[in-house]
Amino acid sequence: MTDTQVIQPSTAETSIELLSVQQALNRALADELAADPRVLIFGEDVGTLGGVFRVTDGLQARFGKERVFDTPLAEAGILGTAVGLAIAGFKPVPEVQFDGFSYPAFDQIVSQVARYRYRSRGRMTMPITLRVPSYGGIRAPELHGESTETFWAHVAGLKVVSPSNAHDAYHLLRAAIQDPDPVIFMEPKSRYWQKSEVDVANSGGTSGAKIVRPGKHLTIISWGAMLGRAVQAAEAAAEDGVEIEVVDLRWLSPIDTQTIVESVGRTRRAVVVHEAARTAGLGAEVSARITEHCFDTLRAPVERVTGYDVPTPSGPLEDEQIPSVHRILLGVQKVLEYRRG
């Protein structure tokens, strides 16, 4: 449903490279700017500075101040500008500097970006990709470590995607920019500097979820920065002979129910892992969907390993909030040990 043909990047000689998530995102932006003259990048400090995380590094120098530019400090203004540019036929790729600063733009995102296609009966489309450095993990101050996915996933008209590694960072960002609908692109900021192999020429598919590790005893569903910990938990469990399948959800809206349900249909047990607060977190939706589809096969209730219902703590206290490998394993254990009463 979110499948998109990714244009072959002109730079690909040898197709596999070792890139950090930040480099992969930067490359994706550069390749999109090069491929489509209507793509524009803007936001606070994305121009001369290249972004506080250097994701837009060098892009202004290469593509000029008309394609990559700084804005005044006003997130609603940035998103509203994106709406106007979309009406004028551009493909805006705005950035908000940190997750928490999407909140001042909430109205423009929810009431305008998400609805303009609907309101105009398809005549004014919003091919906007909002880049949001997301999640905790860098012990930043308040509102610099928010997991905002629930807010967007609940809003019809928006798509939401979040890569967990450099390869997906590259391909999902390109897919998001090429998508005719508005996409909230949640970047796992704690993974920006983590390198892994990127095959720029072959996306391997950008739609839906991806099984990143096969297993037969239990399925963990996670995304973004938490995916890595889910895999670590699976590796630890493997030492005890427990084979966990790990699903990288990737698209948080629309959710690829089919992949999840097929996996849990096989493993009969599921744990969903996210950083966001538990109540009304996206884990609840994943849990509800699994139960709706796999009620008969499930051997235990879907377990949610999530952040607690507290404001995202900052500094070292952040570590208490973000699910650790240990907490994921406790959740796994609980599900494995579950016996009908």
Binding site: G77, G80, S111, R117, Y118, G122, A156, D181
Partner: protein, 332 residues
């Protein structure tokens, strides 16, 4: 100064008269249950038709709020489509906003100005000479989005005209409790661009202020804020009861002279129009209103399945499922 020709003046009059007649009818139709609600423009015709006359639909783009019926009419926006907003047929109206260069009606006060700014930036990037016109109310001037938009427009020196219809009221809140300092035009200086106050009940003055601002923007000299001072003579919307917050006497005192009567006298006096022309306009209006009425009444209700369309470019698999469930549930 670009003096209007006689034909242009006649056109201004015709459009004001039609806007007034339709406005009055719409309120009546609301009372008759033909449409559920309507926010009248009564008394704002000079401001609306005057500004519309400054817009060149081959290149400009209008970003209205919800009380710009006279602008839509003057810009020849498909009125049945436009009124679809008010009769509940389609929120925002079902006119083609790209063809008419007039966005769907906006219901979030303040949120349209940044859109105008983005569109104007697009013009600049594309090397085109279109101008964006954002319609703002006195109430809308209080919103953060309006400020952000004006600041962006100023920093980037964009071709935008912020046309503020100061009709003295935001529902029940009068200007004095809305606008610090009392003048919206005065805000422009703080952004480094001109703020022009114009008598919003003088159609020629509004048109001239509009033309000047549009020309300035087209020359690349940046934004202008026009504050058209007028008066919301009717209720905020058909559901509103102004008697709760202002007296009839105050309305008479503050409303001033009717902008249409005023223009008619002046135009008659100057010989631009005559009684024959007035009779011709009157004769034109009657069947035109009847035509709109008939079409509005006969507008078929939308099929419920339309709620699933245009959410995304393509139906998601969730929506495919939900539409199927809907069609089951709809058999009530």
């Amino acid at each position: 100064m670009s003096e209007p020709t006689r034909d242009q003046e006649r056109d201004l009059y015709r459009k004001m008269a039609k806007a007034r007649a339709l406005d009055i009818e719409l309120v009546r139709w609301q009372r008759q249950g033909i449409i559920p609600a309507f926010p009248p423009s009564l008394g704002q015709e000079a401001a609306q038709v005057g500004m519309a006359a400054a817009i060149d639909q081959t290149r400009d783009f209008a970003f209205p709020m919800y009380r710009e019926m006279g602008v839509a009419l003057a810009l020849d926006v498909d009125m049945l489509g436009y009124l679809g907003n008010h009769n509940g047929n389609w929120n925002g109206g079902s006119h083609d906003p790209m063809r008419h260069r007039f966005t769907p009606i906006q219901s979030v006060v303040g949120s349209n100005s940044p859109h105008a700014v983005g569109w104007a930036l697009g013009q600049k990037l594309d090397g085109l000479d279109g101008v964006a016109v954002a319609f703002v109310g006195d109430g809308g001037s209080s919103q953060g989005d309006t400020h952000e938009a004006m600041n962006f427009a100023g920093v980037w020196n964009l071709p935008v005209v912020f046309f503020v219809t100061n009709n003295q009221w935001a529902i029940s809140v009068p200007l004095s409790e809305q606008v610090a300092g009392g003048s919206i035009a005065a805000r422009a200086a703080g952004y480094g661009f001109p703020g022009v106050e114009v008598d919003g009940n003088d159609v020629l003055a509004v048109r001239q202020a509009g033309l000047d601002a549009m020309a300035r923007a087209r020359r690349g000299e940046g934004p202008t804020l026009i504050e058209a001072k007028t008066y919301r003579r009717g209720p905020h919307a058909t559901s509103d009861d102004p008697g709760r917050y202002r007296t009839l006497e105050e309305e008479r005192r503050d409303g001033g002279e009717d902008p249409i009567t005023r223009y008619r006298s002046s135009a008659l006096e100057r010989g631009v129009i005559d009684e024959a022309f007035l009779a011709e306009v009157d004769a034109e209006i009657v069947p035109w209103l009847e035509d709109i009425r008939t079409h509005l009444i006969n507008l078929p209700p939308r099929d419920g399945s339309e709620i699933f369309e245009n959410v995304y470019a393509e139906l998601t698999s969730d929506l495919v499922e939900q539409r199927a469930a809907w069609s089951e549930g709809a058999q009530a």
